[in-house]
Each structure stands twice: as structure tokens, then as C-alpha cells.
């Protein structure tokens, strides 16, 4: 059995009987959960291990609040009952017993005390028996209207008082919800929370704060912090039952460092005092009462002085290594006076630089041109004086960031530094820390940049505006000029539809750096099929780095259109289901180290197999490889069209069809293979001599100057022969539309065809929210935050969508 707190509480209140009249008011208190078991909530915070009963357990926290409240109410004449006074599994009561206890007690209020899980969304949630005010739905079961109305009224009084707590930062104001409505909307429960079902008395379930918001977890380990919540319950009950006001007041505060941030890795609510380091073991003296409070060792800095007569009090705060601070606070009856108590570290030596980068050993040592310039100091420095003290030559535009509570200053250039340049950085001695001492002398260093300052994309599939991306779980590949760091690639490269919905990637298909060094790459297969005819885009986020730390300086966007590349309504003259239709023709090839033709089931578009054509050239240019057709029976004339399904290798090499007649030979360009998926390529044979019959004798791959041209592997499937070219009859209504500039700084304009009329331009955030619209053929973006957006343009003949980047 765990320790019972009643003896402590009796001491707290034994000398504090006041004129508060709650005589006869009946309150049933239910401290939620119980037992340090699976049905409890254990939030693990150092120094406690998981499952340690001395750590944070919601059951324990709820119990402490409940016991405090019971003692306060009993001391002021109320009749109370509590569902448990210990914390064992046996105390974790069935909901039916809790409800019955409240009913049988004839309570005027059943208060179920809980805290909630929601992390950074730290706020108060009051659930009362019944429905939301605006909810007119009839639920299968409902409390009586009177119970619902009173439950709602009490819950609002409690919420308002709890919200006055300034020791915790609230992420947003309190929430009042009827349990029927809330449970239905949140969890799909048809009939609300069990502890609020079947109650004959006004009932409130209080979720007082978020116990898994770690700064709050630490606060909830402090008994006096829990006392404050109980006091707010007590005040709420006194308010609601219209008793006299409490004649005393309370001083409560938390001692924190004035400037130094809380170094603990857990998240803190932005712009809140939780960002600053709580001071353990600080001493707070209440001079007029000769009382001393020492803050605990659990990183909350909390101090509380209770039962104070109204008036002005003097507080003196001190802690080892800190300047003492004395200040006044006014205590009012029936009120908690809060203070965000900040104290300042004693800084008794001048500031100096203890580390810096780029740290060149000599002025000839080359450093990354994408470097940030970083200083670490022995003290937290005054940001404004540090900015003024900084200079770099040649001049560079950039921004400052201060980290680690101003112990670190970074200068981040807006653009990568110039290549092969010697820079001189100076921090002059005017730089000072918060106690006003300046550096004793200027700090200067130099470094020289490398000959490369940004990551460059060499090849990609899809290319921007690609219109032939086969819809069937396509594989996308992006090749850069340097081997990539892989950590940021999973999230940094994403595919979206034009509504901003991110498409799933097949995580098992992720491949990185599978191209010849020094290049780097990332590729992945989509986890879902695309919709033929629909437009999508790929985003490669700014900041992706190579193994040297050189990064992509701008977000890259590639829009593309999905299509079905399978042509099935033309005459198939070869299926490539066997491997004996083609062979490598070494004699006709040039600068080829090796080449082969094999049958493949791994990549196929029709039937069971395709043919895989592999090749390696012996140099970076001038090569060509020929695959001859064995026993060709293929005959074509100059009014024919030849089509072939090709899975490309992004080499940029060109594929030719080789034709022979009795009197002539011709090489007809079929396609430039820049793509990395299936594509249907076709060649118009009008270049053949008229009235002459040709045989297709083979395929020729001609090496072009491109990053991936030295070796490759393509797949071919179903060769077709027909009359009218297919692509000539495909209509792209909005193909003349272009957006410029993109990225845009002030304005986005539209270039369009002569018959196209812009009816409306709409700019959407990626979450689908409409940011701006225009009835003209331009749209102002000068005041729109930097980022990636979707631009939709409604023309008289259709809608055009494209991603755009706003950059000021």
C-alpha cells in the first residue's frame, strides 16, 4: 500500500479554519485511475525509470489533488466522499461503482479528477455530462436536462479558475465539451464517457493539464503545484455554490534563469517561460512572514506560500552562482498571485570565443563554400552587441542565429560563399555578455573556400513537364553531382498531387547512391498507382546535402502528367517474349566494352518477359552499340510508323531503328532515352525512300554527352507497326501555358496562348487553404510567406495547375 497523504494535509489545514461556508454542500471526489498498472498512465522522466512508483503516474497525481481538495472542503464545512485514499490496483474502481457512489452519496457535484495526454497542446479540457451547447443530436442515452445544464455550468467555473494558473503555459484556452458530443466525434463512442453515464448528479471530468507535456510532468511531481490545482477546484466550488470568498491568498511562482534556455531535450511550448532553465534548489524567502521555500530538484522551479493575508509582501530569491533578486508582490483575498521569477547568472569574466568554424589550420586550408560561420563563447552573449561586432570580408549577406541560450552564434549566408575565395572574419572587442563585460581584444580568423559551393542535379526522372510517366507505380530517380547524405532523403523528396496530397512511397524500394562515383542518387517506387491524365509534381527540398555537407540551395519542383503507356490497339510485330530475337552485333558497334541481350521477367509490360539490352562504353563519348534482329521479317515503307515500349535508363543516349532495303540503309531516330520508366516511343518513317520496302535489321544506341551515358540497361517490349502516328493526334489544350518567374519574389505572371483567357488565378497552401486569388493574368505574392504553393489557373478552356515557389 502506498503512503497516505492525509496526515500531511491535516497539518496544512489544521490552523486555517476560515469563515468559508460550504456547510452541507456534498461533493463526491473521484481521483481518476489507480494502481500503478496498465490502466494507469506512467510518464517516464529522468531520474525515474519506467514503472518506478516514485515517478509520474496519473493515478498518483490525481489522488494527491483529490486528497488536498477533500481536506480543503472538509475544513470548510462541506460533506465529502472520495472514491479512494490509496493507490493500489484495487483502488482502480469500476466505472459503475464510481457512478453509483456519486449517486448514492446524493452529491451536489461529482468531480472526477484527471490529467490528459496531448504533449505540446497543453490545455484544460472539461468534460461534462451531456452534449455540447450547439449539439441538437439525440443520443441513445442522455442525462436529465437539469444535470446537463448544471454540469456544464460548474465545468465552466472550474475551467476559468484552472486557466488562471500561470505556472504552466497554455497552448490554447480551455475547452468545455459535453461528453456525449466529444466522445462521439473523437472516438465514435455512441454514449459518452463511462464515468458520466447514469449519473443523477451534476458531474464533471476535469482534464487539468497535459501530463505528457514534460515540463508539466515535472510540475505535477511537485506537491504544492498539485495543491494549487486543488485550491482552484475548491475556489470553483465555493464560487459555484455562492459561498463567501476565501479571505486569504496565495503566492506562487517558478524560479528560472533570465536568459539561459532549458537544455533538456524535451519539447517546450514556444514563447513560454518553459523555454528557460528552471532553477533547482533556489531559495525563496517571504520576508514579512519569515518563511523560506526551497525549490525542489525536479526541474520545475516552483515555490508556493499559502494562506496569506491580503497585502504587500517582499520576496528575496537566491541561488548558487546567481545574482539575488528582491521584489514585491501583492496578495489579494480569494486569489493566487503568480510570478514568473527570473534570476540572472553571475558572469564575472569577459566573454571570449572558445570554438569557431570553419576552423582553417592555415589560410590555405580549403573549407566548404556552403559553410555557416559559427562561434561558441564562454558566456551567453548579448545578441545585439555580437551582431554589431561581426564582420566578414569580402562582404556576405546573411542572417544571425543564436543558440544554446546565446552561448552560440551562427552567421548563415543567404547564398553559398564564393568558390576559391579567402574570407576574413572579425568579431571586434565591443561584443559583451549580459553582465556588461566586453571582450578584451578582437577575434579574427581566415579561411579559403573550395571550388564547389552547391549541390547540382544532373539528371532526373521525371523531368519537369514530363507528360509520359506511366501510371503503374512508377520509379523516380534523381542524380546529383556528388554522393548524397541519405538521412534527409526519405522526407526531402516527395510526390504530391495538385491538391497537395502527398503520395506514399514504397519504403522498401528506396535506393541511394546507385550511380557511378562521384555522383550520387536517390530513387524510389511509388506505393500506389497514379491516375492517367492527372497532373502531379515532385518536390526536392532545399537543404538536401551531399557527403561533404554541400547542399541544395533551392527547392526543386517537377510537374508531370501520368499516362498509360501501354498501346494495345495496334499490330504487334514482336513481343520479345524470347531472347533469340536480338543479339549484340560487336562488329557494328564502336567503343563498347561489353554488351548483351537477355530475357527479363523483372521489368515487363506485356506477357511474361521483355528483352533487356545492356551495354558499357569504353569512354565518355563517341560510342555506339548495335543489337541486330535475328531473321528479321519486319517490312515497312515510308508511310509506316514504328512504336516500341521502352523502359529507359536515364542515360540520355539516343536509340535508332536500323532499316535496310535492297538499295538503301537508313537510321531513324526512335527516342532520346532520358527517362527511367516505361514509355511508348514511336518513329515516323517518312524519311525512308518512297515506294521502297525496308526490313528492320536492328537497334542502335548512340552515346551522347550526359552524366549517365557510359553504361546502361534498357528494356524493350511489344514492337508495333501501324500507319498514322499516335502522338500526332494527342491534344494538349493548355500546353502553351507557362508561369514566370518561378520561384517568384513579388509577382507571378502567366504566359498563354492567343485564345486562352484567364478567368481566375488561385494560390493555395499545400494544406489546401486558399491564400489569394486574382481575376487578372498576374498575382501579387510580395507579402506572402516564403514557401511552396499550388497555383491553379482557370482558363476559358480548362484548368491548369502547377507548384510555385515564393522566395523574397
Amino acid at each position: 500500500m502506498k503512503k497516505i497523504l492525509l496526515p500531511i494535509l491535516l497539518l496544512v489545514f489544521s490552523l486555517n479554519l476560515i469563515a468559508q461556508d460550504l456547510s452541507g454542500v456534498r461533493i463526491y471526489i473521484n481521483p481518476g485511475h489507480g494502481g500503478y498498472d496498465a490502466n494507469d498512465r506512467n510518464v517516464v522522466i529522468p531520474p525515474f525509470k519506467s514503472g518506478d512508483p516514485n515517478g509520474f503516474w496519473e493515478s498518483s497525481s490525481n489522488l494527491h489533488k483529490g486528497l488536498y481538495l477533500k481536506e480543503m472542503l472538509d475544513s470548510h464545512g462541506a460533506s465529502t466522499a472520495i472514491s479512494r485514499v490509496t493507490n493500489t490496483t484495487e483502488d482502480d474502481l469500476p466505472l459503475s461503482q464510481i457512478v453509483r457512489s456519486g449517486n448514492e452519496f446524493n452529491a451536489d457535484l461529482l468531480l472526477s479528477i484527471h490529467s490528459n495526454a496531448g504533449g505540446l497542446a497543453n490545455h484544460i479540457l472539461m468534460l461534462y455530462a451531456g452534449r455540447d451547447l450547439n449539439d441538437t443530436k439525440i443520443y441513445p442515452t442522455q442525462p436529465s436536462p437539469e444535470v446537463e445544464r448544471k454540469s456544464r455550468a460548474i465545468s465552466e467555473v472550474i475551467a476559468k479558475n484552472l486557466y488562471m494558473n500561470k505556472l504552466t503555459p497554455w497552448a490554447h484556452p480551455y475547452t468545455l465539451r459535453g461528453d456525449k458530443t466529444a466522445a462521439s466525434q473523437w472516438f465514435g463512442w455512441p454514449n459518452g464517457y463511462g464515468v458520466l453515464r447514469g449519473v443523477t448528479v451534476p458531474t464533471v471530468l476535469s482534464e487539468g493539464s497535459m501530463h505528457d507535456y514534460i515540463p508539466e510532468t515535472y510540475r505535477l511531481m511537485n506537491m504544492d503545484y498539485k495543491y494549487l490545482e486543488a485550491w482552484n477546484f475548491f475556489k470553483s466550488i465555493a464560487d459555484y455554490f455562492k459561498s463567501e470568498t476565501i479571505p486569504h491568498g496565495i503566492i506562487a511562482g517558478s524560479v528560472r534563469d533570465k536568459f539561459i534556455e532549458n537544455p533538456a531535450p524535451y519539447k517546450k511550448i514556444s514563447n513560454s517561460h518553459d523555454l528557460f532553465k528552471p532553477i533547482n534548489g533556489a531559495t525563496v524567502k517571504l520576508i514579512e512572514k519569515d518563511l523560506t521555500y526551497t525549490t525542489d530538484t525536479l526541474n520545475n522551479g516552483i515555490y508556493v506560500f499559502k494562506n496569506l493575508e491580503p497585502g504587500e509582501y517582499t520576496l528575496e530569491v537566491s541561488a548558487k552562482g546567481y545574482h539575488s533578486r528582491t521584489f514585491k508582490m501583492t496578495v489579494e483575498a480569494n486569489t493566487i498571485s503568480y510570478d514568473d521569477t527570473r534570476i540572472n547568472l553571475i558572469r564575472n569574466t569577459p566573454p571570449e570565443v572558445v570554438e569557431y568554424s570553419p576552423h582553417a589550420l592555415t589560410s590555405d586550408t580549403v573549407m566548404l563554400a556552403s559553410s555557416t560561420i559559427k562561434f561558441k563563447f564562454n558566456w551567453d552573449v548579448d545578441a545585439e552587441s555580437a551582431k554589431q561586432a561581426f564582420s566578414i570580408s569580402p562582404a556576405v549577406e546573411g542572417k544571425f542565429e543564436f543558440k544554446e541560450s546565446n552561448f552560440v552564434m551562427e552567421f548563415i549566408p543567404n547564398e553559398p560563399l564564393d568558390i576559391s575565395t579567402v574570407y576574413t572574419v572579425v568579431l571586434d572587442k565591443t561584443l559583451k555578455h549580459f553582465d556588461g563585460l566586453s571582450m578584451e581584444e578582437d577575434f579574427t580568423f581566415q579561411f579559403k573556400t573550395t571550388d564547389r559551393n552547391r549541390l547540382r542535379l544532373l539528371a532526373s526522372y521525371p523531368l519537369d513537364n514530363e507528360t509520359n510517366v506511366d501510371y503503374k507505380k512508377p520509379t523516380f530517380t534523381f542524380v546529383f553531382d556528388k554522393e548524397l547524405m541519405t538521412a534527409e532523403l526519405i522526407d526531402g523528396v516527395q510526390v504530391y498531387d495538385m491538391d497537395g496530397n502527398m503520395l506514399k512511397k514504397n519504403r522498401r524500394s528506396l535506393l541511394h547512391n546507385k550511380v557511378p562515383a562521384p555522383m550520387g542518387s536517390t530513387s524510389f517506387m511509388l506505393g500506389e498507382d497514379l491516375v492517367p491524365g492527372k497532373q502531379y509534381y515532385v518536390s526536392i527540398a532545399k537543404g538536401i546535402k551531399d557527403i561533404d555537407g554541400v547542399f541544395l540551395t533551392d527547392t526543386l519542383l517537377f510537374s508531370f502528367t501520368a499516362s498509360d503507356e501501354r498501346i494495345t490497339d495496334k499490330t504487334v510485330v514482336e513481343t520479345y517474349e524470347t531472347s533469340d530475337k536480338l543479339s549484340y552485333d560487336e562488329a557494328q558497334s564502336v567503343n563498347v566494352t561489353k554488351a548483351s541481350v537477355t530475357r527479363s521477367s523483372a521489368k515487363k509490360l506485356f506477357g511474361s518477359y521483355s528483352n533487356n539490352l545492356k551495354y558499357t562504353f569504353s569512354s565518355s563519348e563517341g560510342g555506339s552499340v548495335v543489337y541486330k534482329i535475328v531473321d528479321s521479317v519486319f517490312e515497312a515503307t515510308n508511310d509506316s510508323t514504328v512504336g516500341l515500349h521502352i523502359y529507359g535508363d536515364m542515360s540520355g543516349n539516343e536509340m535508332y531503328l536500323l532499316f535496310e532495303s535492297e538499295t538503301d540503309t537508313k537510321e531513324v531516330l526512335l527516342d532520346s532515352i532520358h527517362y527511367g520508366g516505361w514509355k511508348f516511343a514511336e518513329a515516323d518513317l517518312s524519311v525512308l525512300l518512297p515506294k521502297t520496302t525496308y526490313r528492320l535489321t536492328g537497334y542502335k544506341l548512340v552515346q551522347r554527352s550526359a552524366p549517365l551515358s557510359e553504361s546502361g540497361s534498357i528494356f524493350i517490349d511489344n514492337l508495333l507497326l501501324y500507319g498514322e502516328p499516335i502522338t500526332s493526334v494527342i491534344s494538349h489544350k493548355l500546353e502553351d501555358v507557362t508561369i514566370y518567374p518561378n520561384p517568384a519574389k513579388d509577382i507571378i505572371r502567366v504566359s498563354k496562348g492567343p485564345h486562352q483567357i484567364v478567368e481566375e488565378m488561385q494560390l493555395y497552401a499545400l494544406n489546401g487553404k486558399l491564400i489569394r486569388s486574382s481575376e487578372y493574368d498576374y498575382l501579387l505574392v510580395d507579402d506572402i510567406p516564403v514557401g511552396t504553393y499550388l497555383l491553379k489557373i482557370r482558363f476559358n478552356e480548362g484548368v491548369y495547375s502547377t507548384p510555385v515557389i515564393v522566395r523574397h
Binding site: 452541507g24 454542500v25 456534498r26 481518476g32 485511475h33 490502466n39 460533506s79 466522499a81 472520495i82 472514491s83 479512494r84 485514499v85 484495487e90 483502488d91 482502480d92 474502481l93 469500476p94 466505472l95 459503475s96 461503482q97 453509483r100 457512489s101 449517486n103 448514492e104 452519496f105 446524493n106 452529491a107 451536489d108 441513445p140 442515452t141 442522455q142 442525462p143 436529465s144 436536462p145 437539469e146 444535470v147 448544471k150 466522445a183 463512442w189 455512441p190 454514449n191 464517457y193 463511462g194 453515464r197 447514469g198 449519473v199 443523477t200 448528479v201 459555484y240 455554490f241 455562492k242
Partner: protein, 303 residues
């Protein structure tokens, strides 16, 4: 009235070792007056049934002979622990009101033959559960025991058991005695009720289980985890074994259990979250409501 038979097959296998107990039939009682029905209370002879809504808002009567439903009252909490008079001619129920946030309960009566309603006790703080007495009722409220009848009577006041501030009190022979049947501090008691023969008290010690003690508080049966227990007869009780996940009830069965531990039988269908049973041994009936507000009647044969 068309009765919906849920399953007769349930009877198979429901044979106790000590006594032969069979669920002869089990059916859902079609309720037309309210969409859902909760907290059934059977008359002692099992011919009538009181029920309410989940919020105890309103009180309704079902007559098994005429198969008629009647709205007895719509007042607040009228469905909370109503009682039949000894001769089944009246129903006593509470009527809740509030003053400065404080709750007051009056005791009302409804004459089933004439439909006449009468206030038996004006609004009081802490009105406990009433017990029928002569043609009226006795009930504890506001630190005194009220006796309220139609006309004067010299009928002896029967034993009365009351839950006051979650403690058990017995009123017998003009004396009020607190019982502490379970050892330990801070134990709360709920669902206390007197056996039909007035010799035993059935109760639940919160967090400890359900027990039966004599009128002096000596425990004579430990029934284990059993909520909302009611007497079936002097030797057997019916209750629910409900489970929850801390937020909502996830399952519940209605169990018939004998004080000597020789009978323990599930009465409810596994298809139901079965709660808040009521029983009449004279009629061989056990009723319970399901989580979603259906009333299910089980007819037993016990040999």
C-alpha cells in the same frame, strides 16, 4: 405483442451442479414508449416492471399481463431506485430539484389504479432509498427516518437498511446502528439491500467486492466481483460483472449466484453488454438492460 426470442439454445448448458437452473426462454421486451429503457425494477410477484431512461429521467411501468406501458412520471430522477408498495398498488419515487446548487429530493407516490399522484415527503437533503411500509414507505433523509403512509397506522416498522454517506446503517427496533462488515479504514459501501426475509444485507464494498452479512454486520457470504447486486430470493442474488477500460464499459454479464457458492450461472446472452438486473423469484424472472437500452427478460426454471 410479438416477443423477440433471442435464443432458446442458451438453456442448453445452463445447468447448475447443485440445483438444476435453466433459462427457459429469453427475449427482448419491446418498449414503445421510450426509445431506450434502463434500470428495470420488477415487482415482487414479477407481474409489473418499472424502468427509466439512462439519466433516470422519467419513470415508466410495464404490465406483463396487459402488455401495456404507462408513463408514471417525467420528473427528474424519478427512475432512480423506485419501489412498489407492499400490495403493488402504488409506486414511490423521488423528485429532484435544486436550490443554490444544492440538491433536494421529494418522495412522490403514484396510485396505479387511479393514476393519482401525491407528495409523500417534501424536498429534503439526502433522501435515501425508500422501503415500502404498510400502504406507504419509510425512508431516511436529513438525519431522520421518515414514515409516510396514507392514513394512520400502527403497523410495526420493519427493518430498514440505509446507505448514508456511503456507510451502511440498520434501523431496527428503534435503534440506528452503523455496520462495518469489512475491516479497514475509509471503506465505502453501495448497493446495500435487505433480503426478502429481512435477515441479511447484500452490499458492495467499493473496490473490495460484494458480500452478504447478517443484521449485526457479520459477513456470511463473499460473492466476489459483482456489481448492482439484487436479491433473487433469500439464498441467491443476481448482479453484473462489468468490465471497463477506464473510459467506457467494454463488457458485462449478468450472473446468478448462490450465497453458499454452489450456484454461479451466467444468465445473460454473450451477445449483450448486460447490466443492472432485477429479479422476481416468484415469477422466475430476471430482467436486465443492455448497454444500448434494450430490456431483456430471462425466464428461469429452478429444480
Amino acid at each position: 405483442m410479438k416477443l423477440k426470442f433471442i435464443t432458446l439454445l442458451l438453456a442448453i448448458g445452463l445447468v447448475a451442479q447443485a440445483q438444476n437452473i435453466q433459462v427457459k426462454s429469453q427475449y427482448e421486451l419491446p418498449i414503445n414508449s421510450t426509445k431506450t429503457a434502463f434500470y428495470p425494477v420488477l415487482s415482487e410477484d414479477g407481474t409489473m416492471l418499472l424502468y427509466s431512461t439512462e439519466g433516470y429521467n422519467g419513470l415508466y411501468l410495464y404490465d406483463f399481463e396487459t402488455k401495456e406501458e404507462k408513463n408514471i412520471s417525467s420528473v427528474q430522477n424519478s427512475g432512480y431506485d423506485p419501489v412498489f408498495s407492499n400490495d403493488n398498488s402504488k409506486v414511490f419515487f423521488r423528485n429532484t430539484s435544486y436550490e443554490r446548487g444544492r440538491r433536494f429530493d421529494a418522495l412522490e407516490s403514484y396510485d396505479l389504479r387511479t393514476g393519482r399522484q401525491a407528495r409523500m415527503i417534501k424536498p429534503q437533503r439526502n433522501l435515501r432509498t425508500a422501503r415500502s411500509y404498510h400502504n406507504g414507505a419509510i425512508v431516511q433523509a436529513n438525519n431522520r427516518l421518515y414514515k409516510t403512509t396514507f392514513g394512520r397506522t400502527k403497523a410495526a416498522i420493519p427493518v430498514y437498511v440505509s446507505s448514508e454517506n456511503l456507510k451502511i446503517y440498520v434501523y431496527s427496533n428503534g435503534k440506528r446502528t452503523e455496520l462495518k462488515p469489512i475491516e479497514g479504514e475509509n471503506i465505502n459501501y453501495i448497493w446495500a439491500s435487505l433480503s426478502p426475509d429481512n435477515s441479511k444485507i447484500l452490499f458492495t464494498a467499493v473496490g473490495k467486492g460484494t458480500f452478504v452479512c447478517d443484521l449485526k454486520g457479520k459477513v456470511i457470504a463473499k460473492l466476489g466481483y459483482l456489481n448492482a447486486p439484487v436479491w433473487y430470493n433469500d439464498e441467491m442474488v443476481v448482479g453484473m460483472q462489468d468490465k471497463d477500460d477506464g473510459h467506457v464499459i467494454t463488457s458485462s454479464s449478468v450472473i446468478l449466484i448462490s450465497l453458499d457458492g454452489k450456484v454461479k450461472k451466467q444468465i445473460s446472452s454473450d451477445e449483450h453488454i448486460a447490466m443492472y438486473p432485477s429479479a422476481s423469484s416468484k415469477a422466475g424472472k430476471i430482467l436486465y438492460n443492455t448497454m444500448d437500452g434494450k430490456l431483456v427478460v430471462s425466464e428461469l426454471t429452478i429444480n
